[in-house]
Amino acid sequence: MLLLLADLDSRAAKFFPVAAIGLAALALVLSGLLSGIHLRELKMASTSTNDTRAAELATETLLSTLQDAETGQRGYLLTGDLTYLEPYDAALRRFTTDFARLKAMPAFGRDWTNRVEEIGRLAADKLDELGQTVVLRQSGQAEGALALVRTNRGEHSMDAIRVEVNALESGMEASLAQIQSRTLSPARWIEVIGLGALACALLGWVALFHHHARLRVAAHLVRLKIAEQEREQSNDLLRTIVETAPGRIYAKDRNGRMLLANPSAIDLIGKPWPDIKGRTYLEFLDNSIQAEAITLNDRRLMETGRPEEFEESIGELGGEARVWFSTKAPLRDGKGSVIGLVGVSVEITDRKRMELRLRVMLNELNHRVKNTLTTVQAIAAQTLCGADNEAYLAYERRLIALASAHDVLTCESWEGADFYDVVVGQLGPYAGPVGDRFKLSGPEVRLNSRAALALAMGLHELATNALKYGAFSNSVGQVSIRWSVTSDDVSMLRMTWRERYGPVVSPPSRRGFGTHLIERILASDLGGVVHLRFDDPEGVICHIEAPLAAVVASARSLTLPQVNAA
């Protein structure tokens, strides 16, 4: 039955439960009506039953009254005692009311009235007979009375009355039976209809419930469909982006097997997707060194679980490795554990080539500058040949210091130089490795080119003086260079050059070019203050102070970590 319901379309499916419930309602109404009728009939039956009982009682009473009269008469006749006439008289008196009562009863059947009339006649006859016998006895004719009794006239009357009474009673019983049967059949019908109504109502309920459930399911399905469409649309969008984006987009699983590669990536790999899918780099990349480097790095990235940016070499073009800027991130599942890696790579081979060219050019330039400086040195040597050798040597040293500073700057593409590198570059030739005869201590400070050159020249002068008169002039002298960055309202770079264990300090009689260079030129180039002190007997002290902003290089250009393959 329920399967049937499922096949019907919405409207028919709705009709059935409504019809069922309508039918149930109708049945209830019908049963109500029938009940009403039934109740009325029951009432009538009740009344009829009471009437029948009353009629029965009336007939019984009549009969007993007649019998009482008879008994009284018999007694008197036998004994002649007048006391026996009392019940006889009482019965006589009662008879009228009894009979009247019987006559008042409703008719039970067709012959009722006739029989009652007959009973009346027979009773009158019987009473007449009884009366005659009593009169006879009263008048002393006992024999005559008895003879009358023996005629059995009274006997016959009584019997006839009994017959009529019996007939009456059967009629009453028949009537009762009829009433009872009449009231029973509607009751059965009502039961049946009531049950039927209940069944209909239940079915109707179930059908309606089922119908509503189907409606809810249908609505839910529609919602699901809409959600799925939206999801498909967004998937299509993503797919289009992945397919057409200029970069190489790819994903691999924890074991390095390829999960996804957009057309650009497949193009780079140079093999069809079926050959790449599910395989590792070591399996399908031609350059195994590159493949290994990438695989190791990817593995490391999946371990650390953090996205990274770097340059790497993949593939070759014209004998040159192609360089890529890659952004790679770990791929996670719903629970957040790493299940693979996803990456986007953009080619930067041209940019790298350009960088390389620039680098080469810069080196070339440096090389040429130093050649020029050497030429200048040679010219000076020739020009001063024979003249003041000391002067020439001092000049030569300064030139070399300048060239050395150039070297440091070229290393950094002239974007700046580390304070530390500048100091070591200048003092190294005089004092050997750091720690030997000079000690350095200070934070990492990146100087701009101008400050780096100025500092280099200044340090050269200090070192030269230390060599000639100060801490580097003996075998035990030491130089300590300490620098720091302080931040009052204006950030300052402070440096202190301190010599120890050298010969006793005496202020120079004449402030030569060296001192001049240190105190004034350096200060000017650094935009700060330089103070050379000869007052401490332990050794020469030089304080340099400059605003950090004036000496520091601008933010370092982005050099990305390299994943080196070849």
């Binding site: 080196n363 090389h367 040429r368 050649n371 050497t374 040679a378 010219i379 040597a381 070399i400 050395s404």
Partner: protein, 106 residues
Amino acid sequence: MIICIMIESFLGKLGCEVVAVAASLQDALSKARTLVIDAAVLDVNLGGEMSYPIAEALEARKIPFLFATSYGAKELPKTLVGVPVLSKPFGMQQLAVALRLAMNNI
């Protein structure tokens, strides 16, 4: 050339005798193969050409030599590690130190 003259005068002051000077790769190569010399000073870049073949020739003859270059020492090929490198511009004292190093190595 003027640099060459300067180096010559340095060497002279240091007590050396300059036997020959070459300005091209070919010239230098033939001289390196034939001349009897105690040491040599090589500029890495000879008019655009690298002087490594000369270095090899000298090495084969077990003649000590040093490089004078305005390039950095890092840019020398690895086979020539251990050869003293003088960074131009350099002074006479530095030349002396480098020569001593070169001659002690052999």
